[in-house]
């Protein structure tokens, strides 16, 4: 089950690429499937693509939810597999 953990965009790169922060580790992903993503926005990632963009408010809610359900360690790490 792929968990929808929000990842923050920390750098925009040429060619529709971006760096996201996943529990302190940077990963390059493609932004080809989402529109109007800005630095600092949150996205949900699946196999190298940002699937959806989240409003900061929505992202905060989801992050709080993951924090509530787990101790946070698995939920953040799971994003690599999400």
């Amino acid at each position: 089950m792929c968990l929808a953990l929000p990842c923050r965009i920390v750098e925009l790169r040429p060619g529709d690429q971006a760096l996201v922060d996943v529990a302190g580790v940077s990963r390059e992903i493609s932004l080809a499937l989402v529109d109007d993503v800005a630095l600092g926005d949150y996205v949900i990632v699946h196999v190298g693509y940002a699937l959806t963009r989240l409003d900061p408010e929505e992202a905060e809610k989801t992050l709080a939810l993951f924090a509530e359900l787990g101790d946070g360690s698995w939920s953040e790490a799971d994003v690599a597999g999400a």
Binding site: C2, A4, A32, L33, L51, S75, D78, G81, A82
Partner: protein
């Protein structure tokens, strides 16, 4: 390894793969829902899952309604369309983004984007039917890619499409969510299981060409879904639920990757126990289709061993990332 992914370790002796091991560290999300107010779960579930949130939401709603003893059958039509559109999107992702790079081609990103936007815009039955027509036309013009699938593997059990009431007898053991079995054996779910009756799929299956059979089955599944967009009665067969005694409900919903099961045991108006069985648990069971089919597969080089494994992984379409390691025998 990273928690939340599947670790696949293969042992290769220079000629063939001689052993395969699957280790899953996926978190028990469903277990974490215990104790929450039941109503809140409906809001949480679609937020928790990234890939098939509509199917997860539908399964949560249906199982909760069944646990409460409510009749939910009449309301299955709307989620059925959302579930079908989601499955179509997942199949197109697979065919246009995932598969081409493994076949030495470029991902068809702009085509995928076009479909994704069209899928998102569907707001009513008439638009769904129109999109179904477009999709059917496109499928008619697509040539199913040829695959040098020369391996012939022994038949494995395919999971039948059961009603929720039939499922009730099969879910019991505490370990079922992590290690599901059907009639005591690991079984495969997904396009192959769903389309095994299709003539072309059945022929490939009989010859043991399961990779090619899954590829053909995925097109067959998409054709079925395209027709379903104009025929809601067809789509509602993908969702079912049943009450299992006092305060307990079970729902089964088909997704692109296979059967998704949700079972809720209420404790008053709170969740007493929540069980979610996702398709990946079946196909990447430690004795499931992945392990059975990769074991003894010939590979003259390490690169060929890696490619064989990556193709099989993609063919079985896990919903989480896989880390692949090749170990020398």
């Amino acid at each position: 390894m990273e928690p939340g992914s599947l670790a696949l370790t293969l042992t290769w002796d220079g000629k063939q793969i001689v052993a395969a091991e699957v280790v899953s560290t996926r978190p028990a999300v469903a277990r974490a829902l215990s104790g929450l107010p039941a109503a809140r779960v409906l809001e949480l579930i679609p937020r928790l899952f990234g890939l098939c949130p509509r199917a997860q939401e539908a399964a949560a709603r249906l199982s909760l309604a069944a646990a409460r003893g409510e009749q939910a059958a009449s309301s299955a039509a709307a989620p059925a369309l959302a579930v079908a559109l989601e499955a179509i999107g997942e199949h197109l992702w697979w065919l246009l983004l995932d598969w081409p790079p493994l076949a030495g081609q470029r991902a068809r990103q702009s085509e995928f984007l076009g479909w994704r936007q069209r899928l998102k815009r569907v707001a009513d039955q008439a638009e769904a039917a129109a999109l179904g027509g477009e999709l059917a036309a496109w499928l008619g013009s697509e040539r199913s890619p040829a695959l040098d699938d020369d391996a012939a593997v022994a038949a494995g059990v395919l999971l039948p499409m059961l009603s929720a009431a039939e499922w009730a007898a099969h879910i019991g053991a505490e370990s079922f969510a992590e290690l599901p079995t059907f009639a005591g054996q690991p079984a495969e779910t997904g396009v192959l299981a769903r389309r095994a009756g299709d003539a072309a799929v059945a022929g490939l299956l009989a010859a043991g060409h399961r990779l090619q059979a899954r590829l053909v089955a995925r097109y067959a599944d998409l054709r079925w879904l395209a027709q379903g967009l104009a025929d809601r009665q067809r789509l509602v067969t993908w969702l079912d639920s049943t009450t299992l005694g006092d305060g307990c409900g079970l729902a089964c919903v088909e997704t692109a990757r296979g059967t998704l099961l949700h079972q809720i045991q209420l404790d008053g108006d709170r969740i007493g126990r929540y069980v979610i069985v996702a398709p990946t648990e079946w196909n990447f069971h430690p004795q499931g289709s992945f392990v059975r089919e990769i074991d003894a597969r010939p590979a003259a080089t390490r690169a060929k061993a890696v490619m064989a494994a990556r193709r099989l992984v993609l063919s079985l379409d896990p919903c989480v990332a896989c880390e692949l390691r090749i170990r020398d025998a």
